[in-house]
């Protein structure tokens, strides 16, 4: 719980904050940006998967340019790779006209890269220099970034100019969870990204006296009134609405003239709805590129034998990510529980562990990740409890799993899947077969499904005894799962969580269980991503 003085400071900030817009009029960039929107939404291409896939790396670059005050030559923009990505695609053969248009974008980004200086960075450095003169240091200043992976590169860039100064770089979640208010916060990119229209809480719970928005092509009407939550639109017409400042517009900085040819596509202004839809699409593309860069997805990969799922990507506070299929439940500690832990001092109470689907997890919560995977430990617990009896159950399971693996080896997973579905084993999708073939895991849940599988494997005559062992295995694993949950719960005390919000990560050794660790990671942001190979999920991904 924060102190009364701090709470008063945060209320003061919410009642007196100021919004200062630093517009950048970068005509060439703006034209190119709008023409790309029109092109991507052109009816010839909007339903064309190949075309949309080819747009993705360009969307990714536009998204980064929106939000990054880095020199355009920085490798984070991945401009160098764009040409090879286009060349590597089959676009040249299938969509020759589009291919040529996209090469123009490629040329444009190369020009941008040559120009190097990002006007957002020019303004930022000037403003930070002024603040150092006025306030002596930057301790009460923070830079707000949209993506956590920007943190290190931006810090590295700014250290060239501000060697001696500590610079606070925060994601949206970190700023909103901050327990103090900063004098100045600098945000980069479209104003909409700070508002509830883009699911941001930054302006709803302002942790600053002044927020500076450094943005390309920002107009005078920025729709600030839409920040309010209790409004006519939300069904509360008679509400008092919260304080919103009159924005102050600084003199705009002209971007460079790149002398690019005029775009072929029409480039009229986008409506507010179009701008927001575009920002969402660009961010989605940026996420896709991120997954490709991390090796989670392959470019152009559509039909692999691996089962594709929708998953929630949890961006963690320590530059890691964790993907969870949206149908799976995960264990986590709620943000409020972390806040409450402050009140416990040295008491030895157990922390409340929640379990839910990942879409219900919010930034500020902490996910619990079991190193080595829970499945392995449930097997070990079962073996520890049952001894030889468990080995005999596993031997029984191995009998049909050996046969299943032989089939997969001989015919491939997709064929086995098709064969079983033809035998009316409707759950026989590749990911389920992979699960059944794993020696540490179980089999089909229903008796008749298991019967169909044994029939396929030529073991139908052994159904009674094999089914009995499969049921025993399942019962023991459920028991072990509950025991494991108890062990996890009893290993995490509330007072252990006190510093988790500040440090972003905490490890817990499980009681009575050597070498097993549970790690709680603070969640920065979450987003749902689609078409993710199942085998890529539930792994901690470290950003290189």
């Amino acid at each position: 719980m924060i102190t009364l003085d701090k709470q008063t400071e945060l209320y003061n900030a919410a009642e007196n904050w100021k919004l200062i817009i630093h517009p950048v009029m970068f005509k060439d960039l703006s034209l190119k940006y709008r023409s790309f929107y029109k092109l991507r939404n052109d009816e010839r291409y909007s339903e064309d998967e190949d075309a949309q896939e080819a747009f993705q790396p360009i969307s990714n670059i536009f998204s980064k340019i929106n939000n990054s005050p880095l020199p355009y030559s920085n490798e984070l923009f991945e401009i160098e790779d764009l040409g090879s990505k286009l060349l590597g695609s089959s676009l040249q053969n299938t969509h020759n006209e589009l291919y040529k248009i996209l090469l123009d974008y490629c040329d444009f980004f190369l020009l941008l890269q040559d120009h190097d200086t990002n006007p957002l960075l020019t303004i930022l450095e000037q403003e930070l220099t002024n603040l150092i003169t006025e306030e002596g240091n930057l301790s009460n200043t923070a830079l707000l970034i949209k993506r956590s992976y920007l943190k290190d590169v931006l810090l590295e860039e700014l250290k060239r100019t501000f060697k001696e100064d500590d610079i606070n770089i925060l994601t949206h979640s970190e700023l909103v969870n901050s327990r103090t208010a900063f004098n100045h916060v600098f945000s980069f990119g479209p104003f909409y990204d700070l508002t509830p229209l883009r699911e941001s809480r930054v302006l709803l719970s302002p942790k600053f006296s002044k927020i500076h928005v450094l943005s390309n092509n920002i107009s005078n009407n920025i729709g600030l009134q839409k920040v309010s939550l209790l409004s006519e639109a939300s069904g509360f017409p008679l509400a008092q609405t919260l304080f919103l400042p009159e924005p102050e517009f600084n003199e705009s900085l002209e971007g460079p003239e790149l002398r690019v040819p005029s775009p072929v596509e029409p480039t009229e202004d986008l409506t507010e709805e179009e701008v927001i839809a575009d920002l969402i699409a660009l961010e989605k593309a940026e996420t896709e590129e991120y997954l490709i860069n991390e090796g989670i997805k392959k470019r152009g990969e559509r039909n692999t034998e691996d089962f594709l799922v929708s998953a929630v990507i949890l961006h963690l506070n320590d530059q890691c990510s964790y993907l969870v299929p949206d149908e799976n439940e995960v264990k986590y500690i709620e943000s409020d529980e972390l806040d409450a832990s402050k009140g416990f001092g040295k008491s030895d109470v157990l922390a409340t562990i929640s379990k839910s689907k990942p879409e219900n997890i919010s930034s500020g919560d902490a996910i619990l990740i079991f190193e080595g995977g829970e499945g392995t430990y449930t097997s070990k617990l079962s073996r520890k409890r049952l001894g030889n009896k468990y080995d005999s159950i596993v031997d029984s399971l191995s009998l049909w799993k050996d046969k299943l693996n032989e089939k997969i080896q001989a015919h491939g997973l997709p064929q086995v899947s098709n064969d079983l579905i033809a035998l009316e084993l409707n759950h026989a999708q590749p990911h389920n077969i992979r699960y059944w073939s794993d020696y540490e895991l179980g089999g089909p849940g229903e008796r008749q499904d298991f019967g169909k599988l044994l029939n396929y494997l030529g073991l139908q005559h052994k159904l009674p005894e094999l089914l009995k062992d499969l049921v025993s295995w399942r019962r023991e694993h459920q028991k072990s799962g509950r025991e494991l949950s108890r062990k996890i719960t009893s290993s995490i005390k509330s007072h252990d969580l006190i510093n988790l919000k500040e440090e972003g990560k905490a490890s817990f050794e499980m009681q009575d269980y050597d070498g097993a660790n549970v790690t709680a990671h603070l969640i920065n942001s979450c987003e749902i991503v689609h078409r993710i190979p199942l085998s890529s999920t539930k792994k901690l991904i470290k950003k290189h």
Partner: protein
Amino acid sequence: MDFKNFKFKTSDIFPEWALFFLELGYFSSSFAANQSSSKEKLSITLTVPGAEYASALIAIGANIEAINSDDLLRKDSSSSGLLNLNSLSYNDEVMMRFDRLDKTTKGYYKRRLKKDDDIRYFQFSESRKATEDNRFKEVPERDVSKLVFPKGTSIDLIDLPPLLRICCKDINYELMLEKKECITTLLGIKSHAFEESQENLFYTENDLLVGGHFNDIARFQNENKLATGYYSRIFSDFKGASITKSLIAMNENKSRILILTSKSINTLSLGEITGEKVRINLLDRSKNIISLGDSLAKINQGVAATGGQNLNFKDYINFPIPNSIEIALQTVRT
């Protein structure tokens, strides 16, 4: 009630936002008292930049109103405190603070003294038996009501913080002791709002911590004569047993005001019969925005489903609202 002289123990300034929550609590209690036979409840939706302390301050305001509107409690406003000095006899046990021990503990009345300054003193000892000189304390008569309390008085009550001392200064302590609900009320709020002890609104049940988001401002009736109960209870587990338990407790204690946070709004819908007369939906704008949106939609669904309506807050709220707070008032038919 004029709250302007209120102070926190740690600060001379009582901020506008805190004053708002006190006023809102005061208003809610008054409104709830006048609605006892109505089939409508008032739904107040607030969005705030930070919700810490809010429910505690609302509870304090509500109880200041409840206590001040209770004629029984105000019957003898010149009450000299909890202790009847005239009936004190040798070795009577009291609760008091001994500086040597630096804590409030049991003491024993010994005798009255009159010193050179012409002031009457009451002498107390740490021990029932004869003991060393430094284990005695002499309290001037005028301070006895503030420093010495009857046997068994809760330490929480003795150590009331300044804010609550102010709101209790005209109240008859002795009658409050008889009326258990008021004392438990004050103790609960004190522990929550001012963090003066390790005790707070969290408690353990079957060795499991129960704590979280659901703040039920109830008149907690303690069957035990000792004032050890807590007024506010918080629940975080909205599944099964704990939510049922809280609903039973609300019913038993005739809860008049219920404060819900975003997550609990999604669990306890407005249309559900929960017994309170005023429901305060307290939405912290620093929390998950999707969840906030869901909560607002649920509130509107509840109002529409029960035939409720929007109210003009200006017809009800006549105290200043900080412009960091959004507020909307609606009625709900029960």
